[in-house]
Symmetry: D2
Subunit: 153 residues, 4 copies
């Protein structure tokens, strides 16, 4: 997954580019259902590393925090084929005291939407496994990104 | 995944039993988000093989049909740990002309719900890639299962 | 993966039974290379749980030991197709002070060998990450299994 | 996986760069055995797309050829951690009438070798599933790459 560079704007969100690997497609030649959640999480992990500045592993090891998924919704519009390049755009339409609401759109090279995802993550103390307020060093880059991409709620 | 045997009833749905493999858990020791859609699809595939009588591959090769996923919703209640046994129950609360609506519940050995899934699949002609009415040989075992498990809608 | 039950003999080793999932096969309809190491490790993990009595997670959490792979060799004789049932047999031709040498054979329903694997694992202290002598509670069930299956080296 | 650009030389082979995803590491925090064959095949697929000019899917769909793996050997020198950047170098020390012999080295950011792989692929007619002579349009870019990287056998 190759992320694009800032600056970001409402029409130019954080986006990663990728090619469908051979083994990610099924005997019908299209990406199988189970693979899409990998694409979503690869994008979310790339956002954490690139925009918040830590991997999930650093979050865990250095900050004793975790970011488990509370819920995920995937909707499929059209298939992605083996070998096909695609992009995934990430937006953050919602941010609460302890949760981050991601919205993702996967597009083929024609720009057509192939899948959309909505993922809610929670920030937890990884010792107590209970939600905690999102610390400022995480909240601020997210708020800055939300402002750049025109999120207003 | 080891499925249970009929007879099925409202309190005893089609259920598969499984253990969390070591590599399915992340550095926090719990099953990672992306893995749950594999658990869901493993269960759905086991249902097709056991209750409808064909694998997805036979559906594709012999019947020229496919069963792509239209949408999937996953909600997480509590973590599953590496090495932990668990079960996944499958119900079919909804059946339309061309779509099958699955409902899944993952439980740990204490019986507590760890995750729930809602998956909508569509039956398509795999040449035209367009939805078709669900053929009787697929619909009848599903309707029989729905009756056995008390689905009434 | 469903393991068989004891007693074991040279002609009846520890064996797990499995079906190829739809998404484990590629657009050519056959299991893709990367998947076979999953089949091998699923079998090795089933052996640990069933015959030594701990999952890798219990080994890690309760005994502060690990069992990383030192080397793996896979050879492919013929393809496994999507939806095809298969078995994996596990033997332990070699056991040293700190290493366990597994040998695996994957067979289709006709009994023909589809793939073979040779895997060497090491037992380590998971704090120092250095190899340690295999403790007796691990060595003894392995030696008993080796004797039952006719290993003599 | 981000590949480097030509020119290539004996000291500068085709190399892809990657970060260990969170879920690719196990509860001990290191990449699990099964994942390494994915890294190897991702690299081989990137070489096919970048240097031979087709994806495995185009090879299959447009040329009616396949490139199944005959054998793979992996050796592990030291662990890769969750979140750690790494590179995989690809060389082709051996090329026969129908087979391609790849050699791969995975390195961490300190340049230390973490794993090595040796993979033999075969070119087949995907209808007959029998090996065929490697066509010139595949052989020539491989020979050019072998010459650039100093392979002489």
């Amino acid at each position: 997954m190759i992320p694009n560079e800032p600056p970001f704007s409402p029409d130019r969100p954080f986006t990663v580019a990728r090619v469908v690997q051979w083994g990610e497609a099924d005997p019908a030649g299209i990406v199988y259902t189970t693979q899409f959640l990998d694409y979503v999480m690869e994008t979310v992990e790339a956002f954490w590393r690139g925009m918040i500045g830590v991997s999930f592993y650093q979050l865990h090891k250095q900050h004793h925090l975790g970011s488990p998924t509370v819920s995920s919704q995937l909707d499929f519009q059209q298939p992605l084929r083996s070998g096909e390049p695609f992009t995934v755009e990430l937006r953050i339409p919602r941010l609460t005291r302890s949760t981050i609401g991601f919205s993702l759109i996967g597009r083929n090279t024609a720009g057509a939407g192939c899948f959309t995802g909505a993922l809610v993550s929670c920030i937890i103390n990884d010792q107590t496994v209970r939600s905690v307020p999102i610390p400022d060093w995480i909240r601020q880059p997210i708020e800055a990104y939300r402002a750049a991409t025109g999120e207003t709620n």
